[in-house]
């Protein structure tokens, strides 16, 4: 992103924070109801050393859960693309799987798989793989028809068409799926931690909320937002890198 496109939302954000700060001062809002941005910032500095292990635990959850989601998402999409009958049969179940709220699914997973990290990876992977799989499938279906015909005319095998044409062509679609999933994978990890964990932003949130330290709850919210943005940014950068490689190849 260029600086030019970023200054407008940044200014809007600054104004919103200033209004928030002013409102808490003017109406003298109690800290336990709504802390001011300056209180949150101060609290963040104080609490950060204690917060860090929680944050690292969540980052680990997201990294493992999300990378498995990418792998599973692309593999599932590929399989469903190769076997159209399987696609017809499995698709409704995939959609249903997305309609089960995390908040009821998580305790069940904890009972089935224990309270370790595995059920949490599963929850993150389950919520994140769906947009990736759908976007990848769409990408496969939108292969350039002319190129496809061209390759078929030249007698390319199915395998060759897939790896040389369909998969590279689908990369932008795959990334749009990954980016959608990345935005809420951090949130999913936090919710999963609410429902059973030893460490993590979710645990920190529960502890802070139960002791009425609303400013700490907000610290956790702010960090969650920053982490989500960071993950989104990471995949945005990766996408650029991947498509540049693609462009370069096309130019050769």
């Amino acid at each position: 992103m260029k600086i030019k496109s970023i200054w407008k939302p940044a200014l809007a954000l600054l104004i919103a924070i200033a209004l928030w700060e002013a409102a808490t001062k003017v109406w003298q809002i109690e800290v336990w109801l709504l802390p001011s941005p300056s209180t949150i910032a101060k609290e963040m500095i104080i609490v950060f050393p204690a917060f860090l292990p929680h944050m690292l635990a969540t980052i680990k959850l997201v990294l493992v859960g999300f990378s498995s989601a990418i792998v599973i998402g692309i593999i599932v999409a590929t399989l469903l693309h190769i076997f159209p009958t399987a696609r017809e049969i499995v698709m409704p179940f995939l959609v249903i799987s997305q309609n089960i709220p995390t908040i009821v699914l998580a305790p069940l997973f904890m009972i089935w798989f224990g309270l370790g990290d595995f059920p949490k990876y599963l929850i993150i992977a389950m919520t994140a793989f769906f947009p990736i799989a759908i976007a990848t499938l769409d990408g496969f279906n939108q292969t350039n028809r002319e190129c496809l015909h061209y390759m078929q005319m030249m007698g390319a095998t199915k395998k060759q068409t897939f790896f040389k044409l369909q998969l590279p062509d689908a990369i932008p679609s795959i990334f749009s799926g990954i980016k959608i999933a990345a935005t809420y994978s951090v949130m999913t990890a936090v919710v999963a931690e609410w429902l059973g964990a030893q460490k993590g932003i979710g645990v920190f949130m529960t502890l802070s909320a139960s002791s009425y330290r609303t400013s700490r709850v907000f610290v956790a919210i702010v960090i969650t937002i920053i982490l989500s943005l960071a993950f989104f940014g990471l995949f945005l950068a990766l996408e650029k890198w991947f498509t540049r490689w693609k462009r370069n190849e096309g130019a050769q």
Binding site: E30, V31, W32, L33, A106, P107, M110, I111, G114, L115, G116, E193, W194, L195, G196, A197, Q198, V203, T206, L207, A209, S210, S211, Y212, R213
Partner: protein, 327 residues
């Protein structure tokens, strides 16, 4: 003529309906009570007061609410609700963060909660907690309380593996990766008996008297006490009668709770009520009365363990309303 009679009688009926309606809501003040958890025998006196019309006699129309994911203390402190069920630990902590809530009646005099573990795990005393997995409910106090309980035997709470368990079924969780949890004996303990589970129960107060807190208790806000003490008095009068009834008639009180909350297991409610009724005011001069010394002792424990910095205990509880209700 006929049309006119019809018209008049219709009008009269309408007036009557309107009259009836205003009569019903007139003078009956609507208040909301937020529970701490799903309805259980800790709340029986409130359900009795509602079903037996004690609230109505006092001119109140009480709605019983479940808090969901929001804390009852914050709902009451912010004035979104008038009364709530909370715990001494929560009120002390809330008060130290300037939440304007006050405990106006202790529901049970002795803390009936404790550590619960399957006998097969071999946890007999707090010393055995070391190296085990504790299923926590998510409070900063839990570790300090565990340490206090273990102090007597020289145990080290930092050797306990703490895992937050949230809404998991404790019994299922304890079959695999949790070794012990904290429960209310009157509810989960009795449920264990009904399920035929072979369990050990360790009461914190036996090892650390400072942990014997009023839990649960009834709270309201500073604002209610200051600006609407009549409503608070009316509420306490009715609840007082409700718990007195539950103390003297456990079986009938349990039936009232079962009828009001049909989703509860009736056998569990009956057994739990039988166990709990004699304990509501055990050792106190009357139901609901609270002692300053117990509030101070617990606040000191929290300050020593750096869970809170300071708290004005005089603002945390109030016996005024109970004393008037006794008369």
């Amino acid at each position: 003529m006929k049309a006119m009679i019809r018209c008049f009688s219709f009008l009269a009926l309408l007036l009557l309906l309107v009259g009836c309606q205003s009569q019903e809501s007139e003078g009956k003040e609507k208040v909301q009570l937020f529970l701490d958890w799903t309805p259980n025998t800790n709340h029986t006196g409130i359900y009795v007061a509602k079903e037996k019309g004690f609230f109505e006699e006092e001119g109140l129309d009480v709605e019983i609410m479940l808090p969901g994911e929001v804390s009852t203390e914050q709902i009451i402190g912010s004035g979104k609700g008038q009364f709530g069920i909370s715990f001494q630990s929560q009120v002390t902590q809330a008060r130290s963060e300037n939440l304007p809530i006050v405990s106006i009646a202790a529901i049970i005099q002795k803390d009936t909660s404790g550590y619960y573990t399957p006998k097969s795990k071999g946890i007999e005393t707090p010393k055995d907690f070391e190296g085990r997995v504790y299923g926590a409910y998510g409070s900063e106090l839990e570790k300090a309380s565990l340490q206090a309980v273990m102090n007597k035997e020289g145990g080290d709470a930092s050797k306990i593996n703490m895992v937050q368990v949230g809404n998991t079924d404790y019994f299922i969780a304890m079959e695999r990766d949790i070794d012990f949890v904290s429960i209310f004996y009157a509810w989960t303990g009795i449920e264990g008996e009904l399920r035929g589970a072979d369990m050990n129960f360790i009461q914190p107060a036996d090892f650390a008297p400072e942990l014997d807190t009023y839990s649960p208790l009834i709270i309201t806000s500073d604002d209610m006490i200051e600006n609407d003490p009549e409503t608070v008095q009316a509420f306490i009068n009715a609840v007082y009668k409700g718990y007195e009834f539950a103390i003297n008639n456990p079986e009938e009180a349990a039936d009232i709770l079962i009828e009001a909350e049909p989703d509860l297991n009736p056998e569990l409610v009956q057994r739990s009520q039988e166990w709990l009724s004699p304990r509501y005011k055990e050792g106190a001069e009357a139901w609901g009365v609270q002692e300053a010394s117990r509030w101070e002792r617990y606040a000191n424990f929290m300050i020593e363990n750096k869970i809170i910095e300071s708290v004005d205990i005089q603002k945390a509880f109030n016996n005024e309303f109970i004393e008037k209700a006794m008369k």
